[in-house]
């Protein structure tokens, strides 16, 4: 039985009393509304009933009109609410764009936010920001939903009493005064690593007032190993910056640098740029256990258990030393045997050929020795300074691993902590299991926790301070290269809340100063009064503070220390290996309450709403497990019950345990999703552990994967071919594009100034899923929930298909973003009985929601199956606050209508009207679709095919282009560019 109660999203509508948006916001966003469906801010006096919106009213009206003829009553007249004072920068019905930065692992990622009448609705990358270059990752794209999340904590409370901000400040001031008496010896701060200069200044002031206090940095997913590796290699911790633009050969030692690690947006862009020109292809070797996005993009994916990867790195070093004369690597290398030796030799030869143009990276999961080895190899190969740069660390915290947390726990156990200020996300949940931090925190008299949502830590914290969302906060952050950005709010806080700056300042009796003044005054202090206001405005407009990048340094390498570290490095683990990994979507779990991310298919496994223990087909067969089976995982005495997902290409005798699920205290979205891998994670071995025991239980949990078949069954769908085979394949590619003979007279588009089209370069695509998420945010695509995904009713207009090729144990993969391809000879159109999907003069396959009666015939006849149907009312069940998230330029679809990719026609029309009002025409590359805009790899290009100079026209005319399912004669406007692989001929 399907749930009749509309199981969507899970968040119950707010009670009537909560419906009003807070006053602070209203004054910003009151406006003269144009007819926008969902974007209408809740009216002040007489809000429309949430459950019986105007749209459903019209449905009923239409039904009753059909039944009862004239007995229709009119809906009440809509109110138009005008501003009292119109903010000068706001023109109602026109969006504005603001640059800001969002935190990612303590660093800043520059973004540009689209705002409608004061409502931020869409986050894009900031092209001027060195970490974004215009692309955006999943956390950034999903952040607006976090902002409007109705489950956010509002206001402040201490010991269960709600407090006003000023009252809380008074109480904190008292606490601080008491603590200051002994120099803060009993004050501890548990924070996340950050790069914020403003936080740095406050921390310095706190140290001055509370010299006895200690700040503990904790991040469940940190890059400590990388910094420790550079400390081994160079004597002091350094940040490593990789540059792929000039890297011809890349060896990744367990680094998922294209999707989840490091400067992945920039790296993906640089990597992709080297995948399109057959003459200038780079080659990526990825040694990894888990099948990652990076592994999927690799030319050679070397399937190894995580604890054996260091050994492989040493084997390569040994081969470099022995066969290629890099004597410096001789003490670091250790030859391997068997197949690994052959692989290592081939990789070494390739790296040696590309001296100064190669790159070795180590992943965050690998021990410091691996990072040091990578540094030594890069040094020996002459890559340092070319493809790899070193900088003084940008983060304030050099170390944020479990050791600090363990020390804090010991202090608490000893009763040495009176007040613990927690600004780190949910440490009770993320802390190593053996610390049992939740129980410990109850022993601390004062726990002040800054949190956005109820979680495991709010349950034990005495004082909870609602955290402001970055889109409603002032602050500053630095990019990985040191470039600073000012974080500016797009909207006044939707709920009474504070930032980390406000909370820290409260202990300095400066809580009333406000984050704006703290940040601004800090920058004034650092850069001087002279022309500061102009500079400040410039920074806010640009989203970056120009000239703040940290300069590279070139310290000497200490080979002996590396050799010593390698000698002391842990050997491969015994038994089944447990690999802990941040989730591609919810990271360490902090984004688990984000329904967009929960519903986004995992880039590799296509799993939604859950995590699962990943293991290889062989291991699964040995254990008698299959996808969806529930197994008991036991590791060093702790156990969890977890569903299993058989992941082709996973290393044998190893299990990947994605972090961030299985929450015990959480909101409606994260509750019930997945299992808690933290429960098995030890401080001693936070990434790779041995001796995992897996016991099948016989029970099952259905896993909501959006793709069930990962093979192409011999059909030519997502084409991938080796570079060497391209010349021979050109004729076949030629056959797979362009019009087929037809008895129908062709519609002539030659006279049209615009023929919209898209080109998707599979060679660039890494399959990260950012396009799908950007599309969801842009086009008001609803979240349908796990049970609906299980029934294959997900609503994403754009999906990323992943196909495996080759043996199931070691498959290569190719990912293919697929949305409506806008066939010129569209099969969906002629079968619609009511002309609800028709063709525009410019070649768009238009879907007219308001005409659709929902026969779904179009979907049946769509060979690409890119149409989505509103089987239930997926929108009005949401809290009214979420209506603020909707893009007012896109109709919110009702129950019973079909929908699909529109090529972001709202952006086309905005560009058209802008151009025509100005008396011009739309540039060939001017209209950028949401997916294109987000794509870090620039794999998607939209534009005007009628303009031969446009990028899309040039790509569509390229030799790698083919049409998906060309033989059907649908003549799609979206063309695909076959993926090129660049395998090492020595390994053929």
């Amino acid at each position: 039985m399907p749930p009749l109660g509309l199981p969507i999203y899970g968040q119950p509508p707010l009670a009537a009393g909560d419906r009003r948006a807070p006053d602070a916001w209203r004054s910003l966003a009151e406006r003269a509304g144009q007819a926008d469906p969902a974007g209408r801010p809740p009216d002040g006096d007489a809000p429309a009933p949430a459950s019986f919106g105007r749209r459903s009213f019209l449905q009923v009206l239409s039904a009753s009109a059909a039944l009862a003829g004239l007995a229709a009553c009119k809906p009440p007249r809509e109110r138009v609410v005008s501003y009292v004072r119109r903010p000068p920068e706001v023109t109602p019905s026109l969006p504005s764009y603001y640059a800001t930065a969002l935190p990612a692992g303590g660093y800043g990622v520059g973004v540009v936010v689209e705002s409608h009448e004061g409502r931020p609705t869409k986050v894009e990358g900031n092209p001027a920001h060195p970490s974004s270059l215009g692309g955006a990752g999943l956390p950034e794209l999903a952040s607006p939903l976090e902002l409007y999340d109705p489950a956010r904590i509002a206001g402040f409370r201490r010991g269960g009493r709600p407090l006003a901000w000023s009252a809380l400040l008074d109480e904190l001031s008292e606490v601080a005064a008491r603590l200051a008496q002994d120099g803060g010896a009993r004050l501890r701060v548990l924070a996340e690593p950050t790069s914020s200069p403003a936080v740095a200044a406050l921390r310095a002031d706190l140290r001055a007032r509370f010299p006895g206090s200690r700040l503990v940095a904790w991040a469940p997913v940190s890059e400590d190993a990388a910094r420790e590796g550079t400390r081994l290699a160079f004597g002091r911790p350094l940040d490593v910056e990789h540059r792929l633009a000039t890297a011809d050969v890349v060896l990744s030692l367990d680094a998922d640098f294209l999707a989840t690690e490091g400067d992945h947006l920039r790296l993906a862009r640089e990597f992709a740029a080297r995948r399109v020109d057959a003459a200038a292809m780079n080659r990526l070797y990825a040694a990894e256990a888990t099948y990652t996005v990076t592994g999927g993009a690799a030319d050679h994916r070397l399937r190894l258990r995580a604890s054996e990867i260091l050994g492989f790195g040493r084997a390569v070093a040994a081969a470099l030393a022995s066969a290629h004369g890099l004597a410096a690597l001789a003490p670091l290398g250790a030859a391997a045997g068997g197949a690994q030796a052959r692989l290592a030799a081939a990789v070494a030869a390739d790296l040696a050929r590309a001296r100064g143009r190669g790159l070795v990276l180590a992943g965050q999961r690998q021990p410091a020795a691996a990072h040091a080895l990578a540094a030594a190899m890069n040094d020996a190969l002459g890559n340092a300074g070319a493809t790899v740069l070193y900088r003084e660390p940008v983060l304030l915290d050099r170390s944020s691993g479990p050791e600090g947390l363990a020390a804090l726990a010991a202090e608490i156990r000893a009763g040495g902590v009176d007040t613990l200020v927690i600004t780190a996300w949910n440490p009770v949940y993320t802390a190593p299991a053996e610390l049992e931090l939740g129980a410990l925190l109850r022993r601390v008299p004062n726990v002040v926790y800054l949190a956005a949502r109820e979680d495991e830590t709010t349950a034990v914290a005495g004082a909870v301070v609602a955290a402001a969302h970055p889109l409603e906060s002032w602050g500053d952050l630095r990019a990985r290269d040191g470039t600073a950005s000012v974080v500016q709010p797009l909207i006044a806080p939707l709920v009474a809340s504070a930032t980390e700056l406000d909370l820290l300042a409260a202990f300095l009796d400066r809580g009333q100063v406000g984050a704006w003044a703290l940040v601004r005054e800090g920058w004034r202090r650092r850069t001087g009064d002279e022309g500061f206001d102009r500079r400040w405005d410039r920074w806010l407009a640009d989203g970056v503070v120009a000239g703040t990048a940290a300069p590279p340094v070139a310290p000497p390498l200490d080979g002996a220390a590396i050799a010593a570290a390698l000698a002391a490095a842990p050997p491969p683990v015994a038994g089944v290996e447990a690999i802990f990994a941040p989730d591609d979507k919810v990271l360490d779990g902090r984004l688990g309450e984000n329904a967009w991310l929960q519903e986004l298919p995992h880039p590799v496994s296509k799993l939604t709403w859950d995590n699962a223990a990943l293991l290889s087909p062989a291991t699964a067969a040995r254990l008698g497990l299959e996808t969806g089976a529930l197994a008991t995982l036991r590791l060093h005495g702790r156990e969890v019950l977890a569903p299993v997902l058989v992941q082709p290409g996973h290393a044998d005798e190893a299990v990947t345990l994605p972090l961030g699920y299985g929450r015990r205290v959480a909101g409606a979205v994260a509750t019930g999703a997945g299992f808690d891998a933290y429960a098995l994670r030890r401080g001693a071995a936070p990434w790779i552990d041995g001796g995992l025991e897996i016991a099948p239980t016989g029970a099952r949990r259905a896993l909501a994967q959006t793709q069930g078949h990962f093979t192409m069954d011999g059909r030519a769908l997502a084409l991938a071919l080796p570079v060497a085979a391209l010349p021979g394949a050109l004729a076949e590619l030629e056959e797979r594009r362009g019009p087929l003979p037809s008895i129908l007279p062709e519609v002539d588009y030659s006279g049209e100034p615009y023929r919209w089209g898209m080109a998707i370069d599979l060679s660039r695509c890494i399959g990260c899923g950012a396009c799908a998420l950007a599309c969801q945010a842009e086009n008001n695509i609803p979240v349908v929930g796990r049970s609906e995904v299980l029934n294959s009713r997900e609503m994403h207009w754009l999906r990323v298909d992943r196909y495996y090729e080759g043996p199931a144990e070691e498959p290569a993969s190719v990912s293919q973003p697929l949305a409506c391809v806008h066939c010129e000879s569209a099969p969906c159109e002629y079968v619609c009985p009511v002309n609800a999907t028709v063709h525009s003069d410019e070649g768009l396959n238009e879907m007219v929601y308001n005409r659709c009666v929902g026969t779904r015939y179009c979907s049946n006849n769509c060979p690409y199956k890119v149409r989505r149907f509103n089987y239930l009312d997926y929108h009005t069940v949401h809290a009214p606050q979420l209506a603020m998230l909707q893009n007012p330029d896109v109709t919110v679809r009702a129950r019973g209508v079909m929908e699909k990719c529109s090529y972001c026609v709202q952006r086309i029309e905005r560009a058209r009207i802008g151009a025509r009002v100005a008396g011009g025409t739309i540039g060939g590359d001017q209209v950028v679709s949401a997916c294109q805009q987000a794509c870090p790899a620039e794999a998607i290009v939209f534009g005007n095919l009628a303009d031969p100079a446009s990028r899309v026209a040039r790509l569509a005319g390229g030799e790698r282009r083919y049409d998906l399912l060309h033989e059907l004669g649908t003549r799609p406007r979206t063309g695909y560019l076959a993926r090129l692989r660049n395998p090492n001929p020595d390994l053929a």
Binding site: P745, V747, A826, P827, C832, V838, H839
Partner: protein
């Protein structure tokens, strides 16, 4: 004032003979009533071929023509739309509805035409005044003749002579 003579006969040959005889005498307003169609009744009553086939043909043709014109004008002329590269005026696609409307209108014409030809609905009819006439739809064989009142006696006698088992008179107006 006319009178209806309603006479029951024992067998079909007698009935048909009576009809022929009366018609030969110039009585045109004759009818036979039976539970099943009688062989030879048309000949006996001198009826010509039914025009129902011609009505059906006209109905069917006009329905089909209207059906085609409807499709051609609405989607070919009034609001042509590019649907998957198909020409707005697509004759092959218009065949089914043309055919269906032809059949529908033909069938409707037959049905309504029959009622018009029959003069039905006519719940009230002089023959129903005769209680025994109820057998007409069961097993009875009846002849009814509308005659001028003054002729009634003569015709009744004639019917009796022709073998009627029972003869009833019903005045055209009012109850007997």
């Amino acid at each position: 004032m006319r009178t209806w003579l309603v006479a029951e006969f024992a067998g079909e040959p007698e009935l048909l003979a009576a009809a022929r005889a009366l018609r030969a005498r110039g009585h045109a307003d004759l009818d036979l009533h039976s539970g099943v169609p009688l062989h030879g009744a048309e000949e006996a009553l001198g009826l010509r071929r039914s025009i129902v086939p011609r009505l059906a043909l006209a109905g069917g043709l006009s329905g089909a023509v209207a059906g085609y014109l409807l499709q051609w004008w609405t989607v070919g002329v009034d609001f042509p739309i590019n649907l998957g590269n198909r020409p707005p005026h697509s004759p092959p696609a218009f065949v089914p509805i043309t055919f269906e409307l032809g059949v529908l209108v033909a069938a409707g014409t037959i049905f309504l035409g029959l009622f018009a030809l029959w003069g039905l609905p006519r719940l009230h009819h002089p023959v129903f005044e005769v209680e025994a006439f109820r057998s007409a739809t069961i097993d009875g064989l009846w002849l009814s003749a509308g005659v001028e009142a003054e002729e009634a006696d003569g015709v009744a006698a004639e019917l009796e002579r022709l073998g009627a088992r029972r003869i009833e008179r019903v005045p055209e107006e009012g109850e007997p």
